[in-house]
Symmetry: C2
Subunit: 419 residues, 2 copies
């Protein structure tokens, strides 16, 4: 079979220029989150197929790259369906594997546990510009902390990180799944129908309250209920303090403590943050994953439209592995999106060291080469990056290429010193 030069569909080779940005970003992530006490962990890229198909992953479960069974376990003749052929798959996110990891290793981990994960995930999405089938995710999670200290720290850490990388004026929108539910209950929408309501509500920023109301009616919700929902929404939007308004209006549908805690959480983040950003309550924020149970949040930057980070509380997922409910809350930054923004901005990671290229005449003797290599070694010990390369025939072009790679200084070596 002929060999293919291109990567497989939807995946990409990463060139040195982009790698330098990725490495820089990973360095900033590890340092910043490290200072907040997050510990790095890693899970295998391959997961049990049953863990990946446990209905926690929503739409992502349709996009799994599945791995063929091996050896005797693979029996093509008796296989009736795909399920008979595979035993594992590539992870589509880092949250499901983290829940398994925690279940497997809790005895050896501090409690609460603050985890940092950076790693590839795979989704067999329809390929499109800027979206790849293998991409990095970067998640921080706090497991075993039920109070809003978890949410506050996740938001502070992430905004500190983005501030360090040079982003300004971003915004965190915060909501709570319990408020979404209370609003739906207040309007008389049945519990079983809530997910449909949320999916429509999620379009608010695109179609507005008129569009949402129409779509709710079209989906079969009672017009009186929709009208009630609409009034609630419009009155809330008109007040200076929507959270206060909802606290009053929804008091029969939600515990006051949820509202107080959310208010305090938002205020705490605003007060403590050092970076320049906004935190605000957004009752239209939904977020897709069905595993969220409480607070949800999303971070966006005005100049880049869509969100660059998102997360929330998922207090029930770990219990699915262990049988013991464990509070959990996570924040995932859009690593690839941030890299793309930095690339588009022409960002160059701050240079830590001088870069010098030694160009050596091809005919140089072994002895002479040795002297040159020793000089290079000495420079490197002093922190200089030294490239030693044989001189190409077209020396001018070679230097141009190396200048593009960031080499600012050149030194030429000949067997017989030039006069």
């Amino acid at each position: 079979m002929a060999l293919s030069k291109k990567p497989v569909t939807g995946m990409k080779d990463i060139l040195p220029q982009e790698m330098a940005i990725r490495d820089y970003l990973i360095g900033q992530i590890k340092e910043t989150y490290g200072r907040f006490g997050f510990s790095s962990v890693e899970t295998p890229c391959v997961e049990h197929i049953e863990n990946l198909s446990n209905k926690q992953g929503g739409e992502n479960e349709k996009l799994i790259f599945k791995i063929l069974k091996r050896g005797e376990k693979l029996n093509l003749e008796t296989a009736d369906s795909e399920a008979d052929l595979v035993d594992s798959g590539l992870r589509y996110d880092l949250t499901v594997p983290l829940a398994r990891y925690f279940a497997n290793n809790a005895g050896q981990l501090p409690m609460p546990f603050k985890a940092l994960q950076i790693g590839s995930v795979w989704r067999a999405d329809r390929p499109q510009k800027g979206r790849f089938r293998q991409f990095y995710q970067c998640d921080i999670d706090i497991l075993g902390e039920s109070s809003s200290l978890a949410e506050i720290e996740l938001m502070l850490a992430t905004s500190t990180l983005l501030g360090k990388v040079g982003f300004r004026g971003f915004k965190i929108r915060v909501n709570d799944r319990k408020i979404l539910k209370a609003m739906a209950n207040y309007s008389g929408f049945e519990e079983a129908q809530h997910d449909t309501v949320f999916i429509i509500l999620d379009k608010m920023d695109k179609i507005g309250i008129d569009g949402v109301a129409n779509e709710l009616v079209e989906s079969g919700f009672a017009p009186e209920g929709v009208a009630k929902y609409r009034t609630l929404f419009e009155e809330m939007t008109a007040t200076a303090d929507p959270l206060l308004y909802l606290t009053e209006k929804l008091k029969e549908y939600i515990e006051e403590s949820v509202m107080i805690s959310l208010k305090e959480m938002i205020e705490s983040v605003i007060t403590c943050a050092q970076a320049d950003f906004e935190v605000l309550f957004d009752p239209t924020l939904v977020r897709g994953m069905s595993y969220y149970t409480g607070t949800i949040f999303e971070m966006e930057m005005p100049e880049f439209g869509s969100s660059v980070a998102g997360g929330g509380r998922y207090d029930q997922m770990i219990g699915k592995f262990t049988g013991i409910e464990t509070p959990a809350c996570g924040f995932s930054i859009g690593f690839e999106r941030i890299v793309t923004i930095l690339l588009d901005q022409g960002f160059v990671p701050p240079m830590e060291k001088a870069k010098v290229a030694y160009l050596v005449e091809k005919e140089v003797s072994a002895d002479k080469l040795c002297t040159i290599l020793k000089e290079a070694e000495e420079q490197r010990t002093q922190g200089v990056q030294v490239l030693v390369a044989k001189m190409n025939k077209n020396k001018k072009f070679q230097k141009e290429q190396l200048t593009k790679e960031g080499y600012q200084e050149f030194k030429e070596f000949y067997q017989t010193p030039l006069v």
Copy 2:
């Protein structure tokens, strides 16, 4: 289906203590190889199945994790064999993907190109202690450099790295596939049989020259040829300078320039190296991969028996993708083995920052918490790692746990200051 807490067979969860060592090692690798002018690159973990099955990977091609086709491309009813079901697989090394990468991107890369890759590879090996089915490889490669400057730099860079990580007294054994071939030709072994000869020769350190000679005869090689080989080997071993001896003996079978270049290469590495290690010619060194075409080398540390790094020249592989022969030479360190050695030694990465844990009484008010978080932020700005956690009921145990995690200092916060 029930969820599984354990990772899939043969793969492992990485705990924070090991991750700290891995992160430290990756940092050292990126810094050290960076100073030698190696640029980081990355390829997708998933490769075309035809690239992985091109006979370059030797035994590893039997160990591929294969990925099921998706959507319409998968037709279970018409599938006759495994090959009909899969279109890709997880890479089993970083060399084949690098050759594809270079073929795909050469126009955008400097020439010669010095590449650094750190990434996971997968092999469905029989699980055994200390060997995993997903593991990191760390390779440096120089593409487009035909002179021994490539080999010298690879050896210098790798020994500098291992020296920095604290290893002493290691040894690099060097050979050339051309010498192996010349020795076989000298003994009258047919070209087509050379691979069999090399596989037997590879056992020299285990079974000695007697064992090798016996096995050659048993495998059907002419006793006269085997005797000739044996005499050559024994005489060579007895001389002070085996390379000089072979240069004389093999002069009809190998160009003298190969021998001179190998000698100069070894001397250069010895002269230029700053780390404490040995470099020596070892005519019994074989190395398994069939893609090697010239120099081969392996690094070992006396206290850990088997090799910790290995590599060589593979001048033909890139041409298989491009049709144009491109000289190439690489050195791969055994990342996982080094991590295991460091773990076994109880190695703790040098601490860059102080670690302080703030323990906060559960009942603390939002205002008070805010003051605490601000203090933490300020400390972090000064480079201190500050963990903020709610105080557990068993504070003593919590502190013990945190001490294990490296926290040396604790600060307790209460709503009403303790008197």
